[in-house]
């Protein structure tokens, strides 16, 4: 079991009642998918807001950043860096800059 950190954008904090940074326990390999599974299990109101509930695809205007790298287009089951799996660095869920 790993204890990871996730940072949420403001609207998802308001919706879920979570803090900006939350700590979650993840079973098995720590990946984008397992992290989001744990996030949605803790905060069911976030289902459908980060990824589609049917396809599990990332919503188009959200991005995942890890250790200052954009992981938005990486396979969601790819293991995240050890720094994230060990809780030293957070997984950032960021709303893309769009609109004017």
């Amino acid at each position: 079991m790993s204890v990871i950190r996730i940072e949420l954008p403001q609207h998802l904090r308001t919706l879920s009642g979570a803090e900006r940074e939350i700590t979650l326990e993840v079973q098995g390999v720590v990946s984008i998918k397992s992290a989001l599974d744990a996030l949605e299990a803790r905060y069911p109101t976030l289902k459908g807001t980060v990824r589609d509930q049917g396809t599990l695809e990332r919503r188009a205007f959200l991005r995942f950043f890890v250790c200052e790298e954009d992981w938005s287009h990486e396979p969601t089951e790819k293991p995240l860096p050890e720094a994230v799996a060990k809780g030293r660095e957070p997984l950032l869920i960021v709303g893309a800059i769009a609109g004017g």
Binding site: P9, Q10, H11, L12, T14, L15, T45, K47, G48, T49, V50, D52, Q53, G54, R59, F61, L62, G95, A96, A98, G99
Partner: protein, 371 residues
């Protein structure tokens, strides 16, 4: 004492406006769900404290909210809108096939008899139903699977199912409208549907008998005459006296018959209101003068209602779900604008005053009459 609660959905949140029966002093609460688009909020006619809200965002998708205390507090409910079976394709703007994709809930229609039962009209066009207060949603897929589905095409705002009307005299009969597929009716509770567009004429459709393809903007009905429908089409104001089987134009002396909103007086089933807009390419009032038009004869003959409304330099729009009436005596009429004003008339449209002037662009207005 009686009162009213006005539910206002805007581009950046929801607002609840309340007043006593005099309707001259208002309290404003909100924004609820600040920063999100609130396409629609509507209360249950069975339990007015039960209100549903459609909350959406280009970033975070669709969320549904429910209140059990008249809009003071809210709880998220189910937001999984999964089309049933093969989704197939509809036409894209260029006429090519395009897969059905869920985007948002445009309109919420609570049941007339059960506070936990509610219908939701969505984009891409489909009708969903919940019987557990919005926790779970099931598609009434007979509509989307109507044989004409592959011919449906989005209007400029998307392929949205924006109007849902339940027949108070027949629980099995529901009317819906889609831009730009047209109007449909079910007589078996949503299992099967028929297009009801006979008599509609649209310049961009060469076939005068086209079954679907019309850009219906909104439909209104008076509860005492569920077989009579009034429609604001893209262009043309129409009426039907046979449950939508046949339509006739009643634009009459309107200065322009383009528009989005239409509604019926609460106590006079032949008194109807529209908010004419200049044209399909200029979505603002004619001559910069904001005028509601009223017909007391079910159409054909219209009078402008201007007292209290800006008569120069006004270039706002009134969207399809942004007009509503209360059922007090005299009937109150309300509408919201893309400029953020919500206007109210406590005398059936004779005079108007803004309740609020500076909200985000108003997407929808619903009114609850409270006893």
């Amino acid at each position: 004492m009686s009162g009213v609660r006005v539910l206002v959905g805007t581009k950046k949140g929801g607002f609840v406006l309340t007043s006593d029966g005099r309707r001259d002093r208002w309290e404003v609460s909100g924004p609820h769900f600040a920063g999100w688009e609130i396409y629609h909020m509507k209360g249950s006619p069975v339990n007015p404290d039960r209100i549903y809200a459609s909350q959406s965002s280009g970033w975070f998708g669709q969320v549904m909210q429910r209140s059990n205390d008249g809009g003071n507090t809210w709880e998220p409910v189910g937001n999984k809108f999964a089309y049933e079976g093969e989704t197939g394709t509809h036409q894209w703007y260029d006429g090519t096939p395009h897969p059905w994709e869920f985007k948002r809930v445009w309109h919420i229609e609570p049941s007339l008899t059960d506070a936990d039962t509610v219908l939701a009209g969505v984009e891409d066009a489909a009708l969903f139903k919940s019987t557990d207060g919005g926790m779970n949603w099931t598609e009434l897929s007979g509509l989307r699977k109507h044989g004409t589905g592959p011919k449906w095409q989005p209007g400029a705002g998307g392929m949205c199912l924006h109007t849902v009307i339940q027949d108070p005299a027949d629980a099995q009969r529901i009317y819906i409208a889609i831009s730009a597929a047209g109007a449909f009716r079910t007589d078996d509770g949503g299992q099967t549907w028929k297009p009801i567009n006979k008599g509609l004429r649209s310049q961009y459709i060469p076939d005068p008998n086209a079954e679907v393809g019309h850009c219906v903007h909104h439909i209104a009905m008076h509860k005492s005459r569920p077989g009579t429908l009034f429609m604001q089409k893209h262009w043309d104001v129409m009426r039907s006296d046979d449950a939508g089987d046949n339509w006739t134009e009643v634009s009459g002396n309107l200065p322009t018959d383009f528009g989005f909103a239409i509604d019926v007086h609460a106590h006079e089933p032949e008194t109807i209101y529209v908010a004419p807009i200049k044209s399909d390419s200029e979505h603002f009032p004619l001559d910069g003068a904001l005028r509601v038009y009223r017909s007391k004869s079910g159409g054909h003959e219209w009078e402008p209602l201007t007292k209290g409304l800006p008569q120069k330099d006004c270039y706002v729009n009134v969207l399809r779900d942004a007009m509503a009436v209360d059922s007090l005596d005299k009937c109150g009429v309300y509408f919201g604008t893309t400029g953020g004003q919500v206007y109210a008339s406590a005398d059936a449209g004779e005079s108007w005053a803004p309740i609020v002037r500076d909200l985000p662009a108003v997407l929808s207005v619903e009114v609850q009459t409270l006893s």
